[in-house]
Symmetry: C2
Subunit: 247 residues, 2 copies
DNA sequence: TCGTAGTTACGTACGCCGTACGTAGTGGGG
DNA sequence: CCCCACTACGTACGGCGTACGTAACTACGA
């Protein structure tokens, strides 16, 4: 008989081995790493059980000894890259600085793994590294005098904002994968349509915006930093000093 | 010969009909509505070309007369439900009120169509209704004295926040679709794992948070309203009056 | 010590999926 | 009026997730 029956369980609670039987050729981590490599290279849709097995050099169905369902593989992938956070031993005491640093780390991780935002909308939960991350964030926020619920909101909003930002920045690139034509063609064709619409006169405000835009070429990093700063301000306005609202 | 060759194009620029030949049995809108009905009922993964055709009562391949690729169907679906925004003829003049109303409409739409957040991370672009929405938002923001780029950031952040919020609230329900067990079992099993971890002592801050939580049962609507208010504050702090920071 | 039960490995097969391609029939424009 | 662009759609291909069966292997209880 093959792997155990499908029953309600969380992948994190399932032991990788029980001790009996032949030694497995790989570890669960090997499988996940292979999947992450494929997703980084070819996008998340390139991750199929057959492809992962090929990458590993084993039979497709052998994977089911390590991972009960593909959904669990996704969760394991998210957890694996969540392990890339480098969290100091102790928070600095400046919660704004700590949260800003965390946000930048999140962004860097999502740039390394552009499939993350998409997968996280379905396969995100309280994985070990998610708990580690959450615990760290709460630690950073101890200096902030606020009820626990508010701290959770802050963390959630920072995360959500980073996700939305990166997803937005990389939308075209990610979408272009597996299209019958190139990314450049896609971008050109979409840009042409947008221009046609805007110059049609039906969207005066939008036209005004686009007319103004080229005058101010923007730096994504700067925008990101400003966005996060503003977000943190909204939870605890900086005591005196200049506002970040203006440009 | 069947439908035209695959070439770079935007679905919005492709005419639905050219005039020649027999009258189509359906409209592009019929196809999209059928897809939306299925997604609402069975989740986005229930939307397959075969299923949509069955819903419509036609052959599978007939759909390709209306929609060149499935990806385009997704974009059409997003645009269709984006048409559910009810936008007055003129902004009220109070941009905070207008943007708050928009955010609540967005949330309502995403509750009606829980698949939206997931699909929007890949299939979102400058569709007609997206342009209409954007134009409206920019109109609402004319009273706000800020550079165009900042207004775009504001709009993007409000949208992103709504998406992240709803996606988070509905994560378990959406994930449970197509699982080999029930949503209740899923939730129970995940809750049990979480409890086990938190009570292990490895996550003191998190434990403290959970100990505090049941004392303050939360109203999602209220949290959402507060989050949006805070977000808007961060772009233009209310002139005098109480801060919304505290709970 | 040894049988056996639990495990690993993996080939085969089923029912889905998106969609390329071919064919038949229809009706508007030159 | 007739041609041909167009609609409708059946068939088929290559891919997917994974249920199930079989064979080899090894740690443990008797």
């Amino acid at each position: 008989m093959a792997g155990r029956a499908a029953e309600p369980e969380v992948i994190w609670a399932r032991p990788e081995r029980t001790g009996r039987g032949p030694k497995p050729a790989y570890t669960r981590r090997d499988v996940v790493d292979a999947a992450v490599r494929i997703a980084d290279a070819d996008g998340i849709d390139g991750v199929s059980m057959r492809r992962v097995a090929a990458e590993l050099g084993c039979g497709t169905m052998s994977l089911y000894n390590y991972v009960p369902r593909k959904e669990d593989l996704y969760e394991l992938m998210v957890d694996a890259v969540s392990g890339e956070y480098e969290l100091p031993d102790e928070p600095s005491g400046d919660w704004r600085a700590d949260m800003t640093a965390i946000a930048h780390q999140s962004r860097a991780i999502m740039y390394r793994h552009p499939w993350l935002p998409r997968v996280m909308t379905t396969a995100y939960g309280f994985s070990p590294n998610a708990l580690r991350f959450l615990e760290w964030c709460l630690g950073c926020l101890t200096p902030l005098d606020a009820p626990a619920g508010l701290k959770m909101q802050l963390i959630a909003m920072v995360n959500g904002t980073v996700m939305a930002t990166v997803a937005n920045e990389q939308a075209i690139a990610e979408r272009a994968r597996g299209l019958p034509w190139s990314e450049a063609e896609e971008q050109a064709v979409r840009g042409a349509y947008l221009m046609g619409q805007v110059t049609s006169g039906r969207y005066p405000h939008l036209a005004g915006l686009l007319a103004e835009a080229p005058a101010a070429p923007v730096d994504p990093d700067e925008i990101f930093a400003m966005t996060i700063a503003r977000l943190l301000d909204s939870f605890a306005p900086p005591t005196g000093g200049t506002s970040v609202t203006g440009a």
